[in-house]
């Protein structure tokens, strides 16, 4: 008898790939989902801090002061804002998220002295009322855009792109276009809505400069103005945003989430955040603007170590979206039975566009969204932000820093050649930084 060989599946045509081929063959349409890139890509896990040693002097545990505040908008704004922690909440729309979820984000962020951000669809009273610092996004769709909310905001963020889909517009499918959402966006109830991929009244960096000036004039030069880009050409996009007059550049890597985008877009367009920070910082340095124009980075930030690593690479603050939703209760294993009914499992649920979120976060269904208690969820978010901050401080103190902004690339090494090249820090145990050359 000939010994049987073990059935062997293809590494190229793996189970997921084959299932997607079958799904495409059955439907004739691409897959749409929420969240960010799920594939394995070089990330902050591939970096390590060196910590103090004979040549470096550490600070004492949780006792010696280690500052975490960050001032945003000091370049031009009459009223810069100060975050108490270097973690802010990224833009997520009312429409994509329930009103309770937006309120919870505001409550959690405000408790910790940081900001939250509106998103595509306008500003809700729940969000403004519970956010001590609120950033108002100006997106290509201009849904809900009006001068009153612009003036009620603490800062303004002009969105050119986002990490999950640089070059792509947005979608909000009909299930979530309720009467309230439709009213805010001036659209018919229940239609599949498209958000434009480019701004309606400017094209290119020279126009953007004039647009920024207009927003400054309307707000009497009071508000910090951010420019948000998806990570694709971070050196040049950062330089152009600075040239256009931005106070703050927001750089979002491909792990950054989305409410609804094509799977092929999420997984195949844009750069990992790890590969994007150093080019952006270099652009600021080349222009003499590092720490004068602040850099906020996002896309896959999960814990205080990620925060510390992003800051060590030169960022001033980070933004979280997917992680904030997890803190509110998204993808909680306690809801496993309900995720199973939706054909998925806790930790993998990403059909945020369908509006059937059992956690009551990415839904407009009244029966579902009332499940989310904004007070309790806001408390969970505040706790999570506090832990992230403590973790970042712990690492900073171990590296001898009295402020998290004093972390620097020299505190880091990389575990892989790819991460070393992207982060421009030495491969661990060597003095070798692969790559090089201009951006």
């Amino acid at each position: 008898m000939i010994p049987p060989t073990t059935p062997r599946k293809s590494a190229t045509f793996d189970d997921y790939t084959l299932s997607e081929i079958r799904r495409a063959a059955a439907t004739g349409i691409y897959d749409i989902r929420g969240a960010g890139a799920k594939r394995k890509i070089p990330h902050f896990d591939d970096l390590l801090f060196l910590g103090a040693s004979i040549s470096r002097y550490p600070l004492e545990g949780y006792r010696e002061r280690c500052g975490t505040n960050v001032v945003l908008g000091s370049r031009y704004a009459k009223k810069p804002i100060e975050l108490k922690i270097p973690v802010t909440i990224a833009g997520m729309s009312f429409g994509s998220l329930s009103a309770n979820a937006k309120e919870a984000l505001g409550r959690g962020a405000s408790t910790m002295g940081t900001s939250t951000t509106t998103g595509d669809g306008g500003m809700t009273q729940e969000e403004r009322g519970h956010s001590s610092l609120l950033v108002y996004q100006i997106l290509p769709s201009r849904y809900g855009m009006n001068p009153d909310d612009l003036r009620r905001a603490d800062a303004v963020e002009i969105v050119v792109g986002q990490g999950a889909k640089p070059g792509g517009g947005g979608m909000l499918l009909g299930q979530k276009i309720t009467e309230r959402v439709a009213g805010m966006r001036v659209l018919p109830v229940g239609i599949d809505q498209r958000s434009a991929c480019r701004h309606p009244d400017w094209t290119g960096p020279d126009d953007m400069q004039i647009k920024i000036e207009e927003i400054r004039e309307i707000t009497d030069w009071e508000k910090p103005i951010y420019v948000k880009v998806g990570a694709s050409r971070p050196y040049y996009d950062t330089a152009l945003a600075v040239k256009a007059g931005a106070d703050v550049v927001v750089l979002d890597g491909m792990q950054g989430g989305t409410a609804a985008t094509q799977e092929v877009f999420i997984e195949n367009v844009g750069l990992p955040i790890l590969a994007s920070i150093r080019p952006a910082v270099q652009a600021l340095i080349d222009l003499g603007m590092h720490r004068k124009v602040q850099l906020i980075v996002s896309g896959g930030i999960r814990n205080g170590a990620d925060v510390a690593k992003a800051l060590a690479l030169g960022a001033d603050a980070v933004a979280i979206g997917t992680a904030a939703l997890a803190a509110l209760g998204d993808n909680d294993p306690a809801l496993e039975a309900e995720y199973r009914k939706l054909g998925t499992t806790a930790g993998a649920y990403d059909d945020w566009h369908e509006g059937r979120d059992p956690a009551g976060i990415t839904t407009q269904d009244p029966e579902l969204f009332k499940r989310l208690d904004p007070v309790k969820a806001g408390r969970r978010l505040a706790n999570y932000l506090a832990v992230m901050t403590l973790e970042a401080q712990t690492i900073a103190r171990a590296c001898g820093k009295s402020h998290v902004h004093n972390l620097e690339p020299e505190d880091l090494v990389a575990l892989t050649i790819e991460a070393a090249a992207m982060a421009r820090v030495p491969l661990a145990g060597t003095n070798w930084i692969p790559g090089g050359g201009s951006f």
Partner: protein, 232 residues
């Protein structure tokens, strides 16, 4: 503006734009400074933006980008041409350009009225959300792109891809339409629409136009529900 009314005169050759806009923003709803005359705009961008009081602002000369941006309540008259995005995101009030307008005139406008005596360039009324726009000349390509609500009336011709990806805005064109964009179709002109159009023309000071010469365009609503058979 009659000669008997006393106007606030602002000469932009001698006054910083920031001073002008700031002064306009400080006006209270019951202000007595209801007439403003702006001299020497010289193509400056962002003239009279973010005004939110019922005053009249008359600008003598050409303006650059975003004149009267996000206007509420005010009447802004441009005695010249206007650059990109005149009356962008207008909420209410009236903006009247006596010359031509560049691209994206009335972009994302939510209410109020924009009147352009001359021609408007590409993307006129892009993503409009309730504004009424009357162009006495012609409009360029991609006008009323993704137009959501409100109306665009064109007494001249329209360029390529009029009303591409349109939602519920109503388009009326008297002249030739070079082509219609995705999901935009010609629709019947009923008496109801003729009456609406006549009212809009009258409010824009257009007299003697033959309503019967206008055609109406709007959404076929095939893109309202995403389906593979409807992609372009």
């Amino acid at each position: 503006m009659s000669a008997s009314e006393k106007a606030e005169i602002v000469d932009l050759a001698a006054t910083e734009l920031r001073q002008l806009n700031s002064a306009l923003h400080k006006l209270r709803p019951d202000t007595n400074q209801t007439l403003w005359r702006i001299a020497n705009p010289r193509g400056r961008h962002s003239v009279a933006v973010g005004v939110d009081v019922p005053v009249t602002i008359e600008i003598d000369g050409h303006v650059g980008y975003y004149c009267a941006g996000m206007n509420k309540q005010a009447t802004v008259i441009v005695n010249g041409n206007a650059g990109v995005g005149v009356a962008e995101n207008i909420m209410s009030g009236t903006v009247h350009v006596r010359g031509d307008a560049s691209q994206s005139a009335g972009a994302t406008g939510c209410g109020g009225t924009l009147i352009i005596d001359g021609n408007a360039s590409a993307r006129c009324g892009i993503s409009m959300k309730g504004v009424d726009i009357v162009v006495k000349g012609s409009v360029g390509h991609m006008s009323a792109f993704m137009a959501q609500a409100g109306s665009l009336v064109v007494l001249g011709d329209a360029g390529e891809s009029l009303g591409d990806s349109i939602y519920e805005a109503r388009l009326y064109v008297r002249g030739k339409v070079q082509s219609l964009g995705a999901d935009c179709i010609e629709k019947p002109m009923t008496d109801h629409h003729k009456a609406k159009l006549a009212k809009k023309l009258a409010s824009a000071g257009v007299t003697g136009a033959d309503i019967g010469q206008f055609k109406r365009y709007g959404s076929a609503r095939r893109l309202y529900h995403f389906h593979v058979d409807n992609v372009y």
